[in-house]
Structure formats: C-alpha cells, structure tokens
Symmetry: C2
Subunit: 184 residues, 2 copies
C-alpha cells in the first residue's frame, strides 16, 4: 500500500505540472480525485500498521511506515495545491509555463498517427521508458482520459499521449507518435 501511495503521489506531481503547462482543468481535477484515493490509502496504512504493531508488540516498524506515509501524503497535498492554481482559473504566466517546459525533465504531448509504430502496441511491449526515456503518464482517447497507464495499456491510433522525460528525448518521441521515426 505504501508503494502504491508513493507511485500515486509521484503521478500526482507530474500531472499537476502537466495541468499547469497545458492549462488543463481535466488533468487538474484528476489530481484532486487521486488525492482522495491517497487519503484513503493513508488511513488504511495507519490502521493496518498500528494493528500489526499491537499484534507483534513492536512499535518501531509502525512508526517508520506511518512516518513515510505522512511524508508521501504531504507530497500529494502539494500536488493538489499546484493543480489548484489551474482550478482557480488563475492564468499561470506564460514565462513560467515556458520555463517548466524547458527544464531538463519536461512534459510533452504527442498525437499518435495511424502510421506510428506505437499504434496497437502495449506500453509493456514497447518499453518506451527504457528505450526513449519518455514515460507516458496519461492518454487522452477521444473525450476520455486514461491516467497512470500500466504496461498492459494498449496505445491506439488517434491517442494523445502525455509523456514526461528528458528534454532531448522530445523530438524523437514526437516523431515516433507522428510516424516519422520508425524505430525506437
């Protein structure tokens, strides 16, 4: 559960910055929704670890776990605050948006054409992250979003991929999406 919480909090931070860069309410709302899930996990982790501490008559493990869970929960709260800038309709300054886009690790989007080698493959089959450095953190399919896709998520032609990675990986990623680059 702690690892699940860690993964969710990291996704939330990435999505919060994405919401800011693309001034996108839907992404910002997902961050708020994930916060509820993290809170539920947090409560469950506290319950389980205290129960176990009592059973095993050993408070130390519970202390570490709760301490870590509290820190992770705080990270997800910060992500909500970042997303909240978008939800409150405060227009982030274009310079700010540009500089987040131009930092070493950036977030980009790519539309998957029907000529793209990504179309029809799962993220697990592609190993996109280890081959190109780009992590798909969300997919927009038609009007729907898939947030935090797994290795079993299949990319379809027409998808818009939201990906995080090194800025020097962006051109290749976009060409993979458009179908210009035929090799990972």
């Amino acid at each position: 559960m702690l690892i699940q919480m860690k993964n969710m909090s990291e996704l939330m931070v990435d999505l919060a910055y994405s919401a800011l860069i693309f001034n996108n309410r839907e992404i910002a709302e997902e961050v708020k929704y994930l916060e509820e899930k993290v809170d539920e996990l947090y409560v469950r982790i506290q319950e389980e670890s205290i129960k176990q501490a009592v059973d095993e008559r050993n408070p130390e493990k519970a202390l570490v776990i709760i301490r870590l869970a509290t820190s992770i929960e705080a990270i997800s709260d910060s992500a909500v605050q970042i997303a909240d800038v978008v939800l409150r309709d405060i227009e982030p300054h274009p310079i700010l948006r540009e500089s987040i886009k131009e930092s070493d690790i950036t977030i980009t989007i790519g539309r998957v054409s029907d000529k793209s080698i990504l179309a029809g493959k799962t993220l697990g089959e592609l190993n996109l992250a280890s081959e190109t450095g780009m992590w798909v953190i969300a997919i927009k399919r038609g009007k729907k979003w898939i947030f935090g896709p797994t290795e079993n998520t299949r990319i379809e032609a027409g998808d818009i991929l939201l990906a995080k990675g090194p800025i020097e990986g962006v051109p290749h990623f976009r060409k993979l999406c458009s179908g210009k680059d035929k090799k990972l």
Copy 2:
C-alpha cells in the same frame, strides 16, 4: 528561481528514497543540506515577487508564484522527513526497501569499469536519459559525492553512479557501467 527550486525538490525526493533504499546517511544528509538551499530560494522568491507586484501594481502574478513556491517547499520538506528515517538510525524494514526497489520506477547503482563506454564522457555527450531511460542523480567518486550532476559532468572510471529509471532499464544500465554492453 522557481524552476531551480522545482528541480532541487525533485532531486531531494529521489535522493531521499535512495537514502532509504541503500540505508545511506551521506545521501540523507545531502537532502538536509539541499533543504537549506531550497529555503533560501523560497525566501528570495517571496521577496522578488512581492517587490515586482508592487512595482507593476499587479498582485496576481506574485500570488501564483508564491503559491507554487510554497507547494514546492512542502515537497522538499517531505523529502527531508523521508531522509530523516535514515538519519535517526531507524532501520527501514527490508521488505519496504525491496518494494521501493521493485516499483516501476526504481533507483539503482552501477560501478563504472575502465572498460565502460561511459568512462571519460560527459552526461551531455552520452544522452543517457533519452537513450536508456536512466537518470544519473548522484555520483560517488572516491570518498566524495557529486549530487545532481549536470550535462557537463564527466563520468570517470571507478565512479559509482546512482541512477533513477524504469526497472526494465536496470540490467542494460549495469552492463553499460561494467563494460559488458558497448552500445547505448
């Protein structure tokens, strides 16, 4: 300054988890040290943005900037709390350590042999992140650490690289370090 703060907070979270995985005090202490730098940046950002708001008679931009800086500062505080588990000499449970290691995004180490193609090259020349998905977040050289290396940092034979990336990228990364794999 905000982007610098964002980058530092992300490095801090990565280092905090690294400290936990490898039960390493030096890495945990670096997180504490970086927190001081983040705090300094935070104060300066507040000063500058309020000054600018007064000059331009426009409070909105300052509000967004300070809001974001506050969220980023909170993330770096959480990183310190995670690192603090190591500094307080609480032994993190081995299962916990293993599960962080085995999550989709992991942290690993590799020792650079003199046969490695990485030796003698800068991180910028290698484009390691976009070629392999692995981000070097710290380098141990002899007894010294280089935290948050830049694209101009040159890898030397004997270095121990601390890298973050997709778990499926780990074997290739380790073979690049040992010299078994000759191609990125």
